[in-house]
């Protein structure tokens, strides 16, 4: 058993150090002999045991005696603990790869690979302030069930099996970070796509929501370019109402018609209804991306979205 423990420990350390690699080889030779029902004759197990016992013996004869007597049992315990921690680490690596967090999808505990928690950061939807902290909320409360999405801009791809729903806000840094990846995803994976603008920062983004609603209504083909433009252009510029005419003109929209539409009570009611509908999802921040119904909160690395589409998520 000590050989197996040593093989794993030195095997991992051997990735970084040639001297540890040599020990790993010795341990491997020992393990090989043991699994082929032969005594380990490399002396490796004894060397390891000798080193441990010597260290303990220099502190306490009693403890050394106990360690010597129950060495095999201690080795088993250590092995089981190590196996457990190895599985835990592997799970963390897997989670980080497919969810962007060691702790699982949208889970906010500390992750060594993402120490700042950047992959989970959102702009909270319940207030106007941007919160960059890690929130304890979990994705299981978020769902598209009973949410009516037909009024939102959508792109249907013939024969597509996957559907991506992006709920984001033009003024949200994290939505802006995620947007290019989502755009790339739906292009590459040919997925159905629904975009929902959530005016996470209240009045300041309401205008863009209303204008967006009207643009999609009047110019559905040009909406996606408009959308991309808003996510790519400086926030201060797009949020300044004074620039709205110029922006609309840039896309050859009928500025007057769009502005009238955006200011109309009907549009405001429709957008409010949309927001109400989005609230049914239970989202707590933007961006929230649903891929085939599974929610990904915060700007995940592209591979996370790709994994979801590729059905690489097993757990």
């Amino acid at each position: 058993m000590p050989c197996i423990v040593a093989l794993i420990v030195f095997g991992i350390m051997g990735i970084f150090s040639a001297s540890q690699r040599a020990l790993a080889k010795e341990a491997a030779a020992c393990v090989f002999r043991r699994v082929t029902f032969r005594a380990c004759n490399t002396g490796f197990a004894d060397k390891v045991k000798g080193k441990l016992l010597a260290k303990v013996l220099q502190r306490s004869t009693f403890l050394a005696k106990v360690l010597n007597k129950y060495y095999e049992i201690f080795s088993w315990i250590f092995f089981i603990l190590m196996l457990g921690s190895t599985i835990w680490v592997l799970r963390g690596v897997y989670n980080f790869y497919v969810f962007g967090s060691c702790n699982g999808l949208n889970a906010s505990g500390f992750c060594a690979f993402d120490p700042s928690g950047a992959n989970n950061k959102v702009t909270e939807v319940n207030g106007s302030s941007e919160s960059c902290g890690i929130t304890p909320k979990i994705e299981k409360n978020i769902t598209l069930k009973n949410v009516e999405l037909s009024s939102f801009p959508s792109l249907a791809v013939a024969g597509a099996k996957d559907t991506v729903v992006f709920i984001g806000c033009y003024d949200c840094d994290y939505s802006r970070k995620a947007y290019p990846d989502i755009k790339k995803l739906i292009t590459k994976k040919k997925a159905n796509y629904i975009f929902a603008h959530y005016p996470a920062k209240g009045n300041i983004t309401d205008l863009l929501a209303n204008v967006g609603y009207c643009v999609y209504h009047d110019y559905p083909d040009k909406f996606w370019d408009w959308n991309s433009y808003l996510f790519a252009t400086d926030k201060d510029y797009i949020l300044d109402p004074k620039n709205m005419d110029a922006m609309l003109a840039k896309f050859n929209f009928d500025v007057k018609t769009i502005e009238e539409c955006a200011g109309s009570p009907g549009t405001k009611e429709a957008v409010a209804a949309q927001v109400k509908e989005l609230n049914k999802t239970g989202i707590y921040g933007t961006p929230t991306i649903f891929i085939n119904g599974k929610a990904f909160v915060g700007p995940k690395p592209y591979r996370v979205y790709r994994s979801a589409i590729n059905k690489f998520i097993f757990f």
Binding site: G43, D46, K47, G50, K51, L53, A54, L57, N68
Partner: protein, 400 residues
């Protein structure tokens, strides 16, 4: 003559606050600083080929190598320095003889039952290759040499290849009697002096040995140096087994002309630094009194043997009398892996001992003993070190 009690200062490794307790001389001795300095001098001042080029640096190397060869010859009292062949170690020396000697199918080589693999495997290989017969003389109950058995077995043998002092238990075989009896039976003798050369005065003429093999690294010299001594007439009758660089005086596309002994056996460029270091080691040893060394080792051996005899679980390999085991105390605990104890001695007190089967696997296998810890002394060890060893071992045995 050097004062044996004042030699530790000649070894840098034994200085400092907490020097290692080096009890592994049977594997490899420490080197006096002057040996290392001599090798350094070669590399730094005249790092050239010997016996080939004509420039001054090469000339200096050639002279040095020649001088060492003479010193080695003088050290073992050979008749001529031509009887000294430089090799890499005892193993190579034995192999050189094994493959140069005109063996034919059915020839018998006689060995003791505790030969180092270097003096067993070459013969077993020849048995498999050309069909020589390898016979083993069983030792006595106390692991000493059975001269009566030898008398019975020596007749009709081609070569007796025998360890002089065993690296397993330190027992020195009665070389003079063995050689005398062998010669009476018309049999040649190769003596493996790897362990004895540094601990007792070897006089090849007095012993009348036909061949002896030994290593530099066990006698204060550098690793990678060894000697095969052979009586000149015998060496001249052998054909070299490794040839090429050096070894020949002339070649054509069809033929070659071998050099004289010993050069015809020294193929390729030699380890000049090693040879020069070996020369320095021999100079150092020449100033030592071998009788004093033996007495010192006996004193240490006795002290350790007495202490070990108090532990009922410990078995000493070889005769109980330390006088018969020269500088070696090899012990084991039945059923216990001794590597662990060796590691603990090192970890706890910096004591370097050898654990394992000491390349005498055949002996351990035939007796079903796992392995042993071997303590081997030299003149640079002292009683204080033995006391530390005993105290540390006592602690270890308490928990086993």
């Amino acid at each position: 003559m050097s004062d044996i009690n004042n030699t530790r200062k000649d070894f840098k490794i034994l200085g400092g606050e907490k020097p290692p307790i080096y009890f592994d001389t049977a594997c490899m001795s420490l080197r006096p600083d002057r040996v290392v300095a001599a090798m350094d001098e070669y590399y730094l001042e005249y790092p050239a080929c010997g016996g080939r080029s004509a420039h001054k640096l090469a000339d200096r190397v050639t002279k040095k190598v020649k001088e060492v060869r003479k010193n080695v010859a003088k050290f073992i009292n050979a008749r001529s320095d031509k009887e000294i062949i430089f090799t890499r170690n005892t193993t190579e020396s034995i192999n050189l003889l094994a493959y140069s000697f005109p063996f034919k199918k059915g020839d018998v080589v006689l060995l003791s039952d505790k030969e180092h693999n270097s003096n067993l495997v070459p013969w077993l290989l020849l048995r498999d290759k050309i069909g020589i017969e390898v016979k083993i003389i069983p030792g006595r109950q106390d692991n000493t040499f059975d001269l009566e058995k030898f008398k019975e077995m020596v007749s009709g043998v081609k070569l007796v290849s025998m360890v002089h002092t065993s690296n397993l238990d330190g027992v020195t075989n009665p070389a003079e009697e063995i050689i005398k009896l062998a010669h009476e039976a018309g049999v040649l003798v190769l003596l493996d002096c790897a362990q004895s050369m540094a601990h007792q005065k070897i006089d090849v003429q007095s012993l009348d040995a036909d061949f002896i093999a030994f290593s530099g690294h066990k006698m204060l010299g550098p690793a990678g140096t060894g000697i095969l001594y052979g009586k000149i007439k015998l060496l001249e009758s052998l054909a070299p087994f490794m040839v090429g660089g050096d070894t020949v005086s002339d070649t054509t596309y069809e033929n070659y002309q071998f050099l004289e002994v010993p050069e015809k056996f020294e193929a390729g460029l030699q380890d000049y630094a090693g040879i020069i270091g070996l020369g320095e080691a021999i100079k150092y040893l020449e100033k030592m009194n071998f009788k004093e060394i033996a007495e010192h080792e006996f004193k240490l051996n006795t002290k350790l043997t007495e202490a070990l005899s108090k532990f009922s679980q410990i078995k000493i390999i070889g005769p109980a009398d330390p006088k018969l085991r020269s500088s070696v105390v090899s012990f084991y605990i039945p059923g216990k892996e001794m590597h662990q104890i060796a590691v603990m001695l090192d970890e706890m007190a910096g004591i370097a001992v050898r654990s394992g089967r000491h390349c005498v696997h055949s002996w351990f296998n035939s007796r079903n003993i796992l392995n042993s810890v071997r303590v081997s002394f030299y003149f640079y060890n002292n009683e204080e070190e033995v006391e530390t060893f005993i105290k540390t071992l006592e602690k270890i045995l308490k928990i086993l």
